[in-house]
């Protein structure tokens, strides 16, 4: 008996359902996608006053730089006063603050010991937060050739609220 040769049938998958779902997923992700700016932190540690006092008994007293931020009208910054004897009130006051802090660290002899130097801020309550952050940034370090050069790591607020 001679069998009749049949052509093999091409198996076709129905892709419609999968494409539907894939497009729904794509639309979902596109709709929920948000471009957000990268955020960073100024990491700070604020030990409670009592613990701080106990610890400070065992440690040498660090050098403290006192920085006062005075507010002008509408919460804008008016001036920066350092150690009650140096006042900056012009537009580049923050870079001058950085230079002063750097020179004070250098005057101590060993820049590696800058970790022991502290800055205590006395900030006017009405001063806008952005100016405070700029001042913290100015004493924390600076950017040299795209690299961060750290200055002061310990920052305090007046009234025993210490970073």
């Amino acid at each position: 008996m001679r069998l009749k040769e049949t052509e093999p049938e091409e198996i076709k998958l129905n892709m419609t359902a999968m494409i539907d779902i894939v497009f729904q997923l794509l639309v979902f992700f596109i709709m929920t996608f948000k471009v957000v700016a990268m955020e960073g932190d100024f990491n700070i540690r604020m030990p409670l006053a009592s613990q701080n006092q106990e610890e400070s008994m065992d440690e040498d007293f660090p050098t403290i730089i006192y920085v006062q931020l005075a507010a002008g009208t509408n919460g804008n910054i008016n001036s920066i006063i350092v150690d009650d004897d140096t006042t900056f009130s012009d537009t580049d006051m923050y870079s001058k603050l950085t230079q002063l802090v750097e020179s004070k660290i250098a005057a101590e002899g060993n820049p590696e010991d800058s970790k022991e130097t502290e800055v205590e801020f006395d900030i006017a309550r009405e001063l806008k937060y952005s100016y405070t952050v700029k001042a913290i940034e100015a004493v924390s370090g600076k950017v040299v050739d795209g690299q961060i050069k750290k200055l002061i790591q310990k920052i305090k607020f007046k009234d025993s609220t210490s970073f």
Binding site: M15, G40, D41, G75, E137, V143
Partner: protein
């Protein structure tokens, strides 16, 4: 007149393979970039920017993200508090929740303050003082990363 035999009508099918490839690549792209943890961010808060701020490399074991508005309103996990003094019970609840996740020392809980750039600094200090009342000691001031030149 003799008609020619009808030719079989073939269904024209485009090759869908490149389109499906591309679509899957797009889905993979968006899936990798989507970040559901952004619910803690209050979009209306404009953070101050800084070139020195460093994005955290490691996520803290337990964190509390507080969004502070210029009016003194605090937003935390979708809840809104008109005054900073109202946060005490919330902090105690969070400290208990942290303890259940083996973060027993409140000092190890990271408090991330996202304050609007126009907020009076006094309010930020009040918020920090309120946290300290509840033995929270580890703080991060969150700012927008500015591109270094």
């Amino acid at each position: 007149m003799k008609f020619t035999k009808h030719q079989r009508v073939e269904i024209l099918e485009g090759d869908l393979t490149p389109m499906i490839d591309m679509t899957f690549q797009l889905i993979a792209f968006f899936m990798l970039l989507i970040n559901f943890s952004e619910v803690d961010r209050a979009e209306e808060i404009t953070l101050p920017s800084s070139v020195l701020a460093v994005a955290p490399e490691v996520r803290p074991d337990y964190q509390i993200i507080l969004n502070l508005e210029p009016s003194g309103k605090v937003k935390f996990e979708g809840q809104e508090f008109d005054q900073i003094d109202m946060l005490g019970p919330i902090f105690r609840k969070e400290i208990s929740a942290a303890a259940r996740e083996d973060v027993t020392n409140p000092g190890d809980i990271a408090v991330i303050i996202r304050s609007h750039e126009d907020t009076p600094t006094g309010l930020v200090q009040d918020l920090i003082a309120k946290c300290q009342e509840e033995s929270l000691e580890s703080f991060s001031l969150r700012v927008k990363e500015q591109v270094r030149r």
